[in-house]
Amino acid sequence: MRKQLYSAAAAAIAVGLAGGPAFAYTAYVSNEKGNSMSIVDTTTMKVVKTVDVGQRPRGITISPDGKFVYLCASDDDQVQVIDTSTLEMVGSLPSGPDPELFVLSPDGKTLYVANEDDNLVTVIDIASKQVLAEIPVGVEPEGMGISPDGKTLVNTSETTSMAHFIDTETHEVTDSVLVDTRPRFAEFTPDGSQVWVSAEVGGTVSVIDNKTRQVVKKINFAIPGLRAETIQPVGVSITADGKKAYIALGPANHVAVVDTKTYEVEKYILVGQRVWHLAFTPDQKTLITTNGNSNDITFIDTATDEPVQSVTVGQQPWGVVISPK
């Protein structure tokens, strides 16, 4: 009896160890107001370093090999390239004026940038630092999503309230789908069959079928005790298995967890103030949110969908990306 208990405890410890964060990942957070980038160890949940970057850093992404961070320095009108081993800026890309958000092609070779001031999407070849194309889209382009096969790019234009589908070979807009007011973000499901587009002012997320290019579902949110106008969806992250979508609700200070089959909201997770963007650790066990008005990020355990801890970063954290290894 006693022996059994011991072995059960030992097994529990072993499971605990295996279930714990076995790998240390690095999260990079752009601090819009602080003109800085916070480097966070996802295991210890501590800021290990803060580096100065260009003015008004917003969109942030990382090369597939984890060697370079790309950062939109909006007020410097450039995309800065930062070596992750030295955290030094090693170059910049010609993004066009006021870059805000971008997306990297799955092969890591091409960067697609939304230029809000010019109503353009700029296509940049990273190796040669050349602009390959400028694609006219709607007013104030922002959200950028790319299909897993890299063939379809989706850009959202905020004042036009459309999701523009762009063929990445021809650089032509093939379809423009009306969504609710002020679309901010576009995210493909891992199988590439759908694009989820958040509408900040409209307060909804539109699910668009990538084949028919029709809105198949509009997801609404309601949090007891909160006024409807505070619910302003921005960032969308979908799990690698495609089962759950996490949606940052801005000044509602919550992240919604949505079942991608039923489109039902399963839970609202309280995080920090004005939550905008999200990123999973590569093992999918943790989701990190950026909370602009409380100057912190929140770690969410995706197994329980409970917030684990919030960590203060720089001034007005905007975007977050996590190293692939």
Binding site: I135, G138, V139, T160
Partner: protein, 406 residues
């Protein structure tokens, strides 16, 4: 002064960038099909105005530039919808008969007309417009009566009313715990209407007007060769002997004295209303909620800062554009039904969606409170709650309305 200097510097740099940009051919979006026309008229009463401060002189294209910016945005969207928007601007004199100018716009095919006119001018064409199936969008008139006893089913009000502006200001002063006010008002009708709105706001939100004083317009010139020599003495003497107060409220829409109050009062107290801390539909320094994008493209395109009337006109053009793209057409009746339905909303860099009050077609909107330099706050203030929309804590609410739409 700082605005002007900034604008000149910004223009210089923009000019350089622009010429470089123009050297390349701008890429064009591919139209999907033959474009459907949506013609928007713009009827405006204009005469040069004098203001106490040179900085407050209205630019020649005040409002019109905003409408142009809105049409440009509508057309960028229209390229993907197969719709094209046109703007027709017509000017008349203040107090002139506007029916001919109105009829001319309608004859050209305009069914959506942005109006920057006086209350009597708007009323003189409102029913005519209704009978011809024309929608009017009021961007300049703040008169509450136009949304109450004189409301019309075909007149949409983008400009906030005096009561909305006064309530926005009062909420902020109460939240700051500065509840004791003196009210100084001018002797012209608009001044007195705004004074009425401030009195109503005091009652509504718990402010206390401890004294009132009228500043009579004796017909003095706004400009003299000796400049401000006597102004300080005059204002100091005029504001002497008032009971103790927290804030001096001023209602001087007619630009006779209000601008002179800040820093010249007998007691060292802040000024708010038409001078000092001023409520408005927009502020040229608002950057929040994506506003910086609007400010940037407006400055680049029109060489000056965007004012409240520009924002109202931009919003009017966007309301028409939004209704056209959502209904995929240009029929005024269908679009009017859509604008008045629960489905409609428009975004205007004010942090939340804007919708129309169904009972009087007034646009619900947050109000900016700003001094000459920055946005100080935005109302409604968080502590003031409402059963349906906190935006309805500003202005005349549904249970109080005198409007019957017809």
């Amino acid at each position: 002064m700082p605005y002007t200097r900034l604008a000149v510097i910004a223009l210089f740099f923009l000019g350089v960038n622009l010429s470089a940009a123009l050297a390349q051919t701008a890429p064009q979006a591919k139209p999907q099909k033959q474009a459907a026309e949506v013609r928007i008229g713009y009827l405006r009463a204009y005469a040069p105005e004098l203001t106490l401060s040179l900085l407050d002189l209205p630019p020649r294209d005040e409002g019109v530039a905003g409408a142009k910016a809105g049409i440009k945005d509508d057309n960028t969207t229209g390229k993907f919808m197969g719709q094209h928007f046109d703007l027709d601007v017509t000017e008349v004199k203040p107090d002139a008969d506007v029916t001919k100018a109105f009829n001319d716009l309608v004859a050209k095919g305009d069914r959506f007309i942005i109006v920057d006119l006086s209350t009597p001018q708007i009323l003189s064409i409102a029913d005519l417009a209704r009978d011809k199936g024309v929608l009017l969008f009021n961007i300049g008139d703040r008169d509450d009566s136009l949304r109450e006893e004189d409301c019309r089913i075909n007149v949409f009000h983008i400009a906030p009313t005096r009561s909305m502006l006064a309530d926005a200001l009062a909420q902020y002063l109460i939240v700051k715990r500065w509840p004791r006010w003196v009210l100084i008002y001018g002797s012209h009708k608009p001044d007195q209407l705004f004074a009425d709105a401030l009195r109503r706001a005091a009652t509504r939100f718990g402010g206390q007007i401890v004294a009132e004083k009228e500043f009579k317009d004796t017909g003095t010139a706004r400009r003299t060769d000796t400049g401000l020599a006597q102004v300080d003495q005059q204002i100091t003497a005029f504001t002497q002997g008032l009971p103790d107060y927290d804030v001096m409220l001023v209602a001087d829409e007619s630009e006779v004295f209000g601008t002179y109050l800040p820093y010249r009062t007998w007691s060292p107290r802040p000024v708010a209303g038409t001078a000092g801390l001023v409520p408005g539909a927009w502020h040229p320094a608002s950057e929040q909620w994506g506003g910086i994008q609007m400010q940037n493209r407006f400055l680049r395109e029109y060489g000056r800062h965007m004012l409240s009337k520009d924002m109202n006109a931009w919003t009017a053009a966007r309301v028409v554009g939004e209704a056209a793209s959502r209904t995929r057409g240009n029929d005024p009746k269908t679009m009017s039904d859509y604008i008045r339905s629960d489905k409609f909303s428009v975004a205007a860099f004010k942090g939340q969606k804007l919708t129309f009050r169904k009972w009087n077609l007034q646009l619900r909107q947050p109000i900016f409170l700003g001094d000459g330099r920055t946005v100080v706050s935005t109302s409604p203030q968080a502590p003031f709650l409402h059963q349906s929309s906190t935006l309805d804590t500003l202005g005349v609410d549904q249970p109080e309305t005198k409007c019957t739409l017809k």
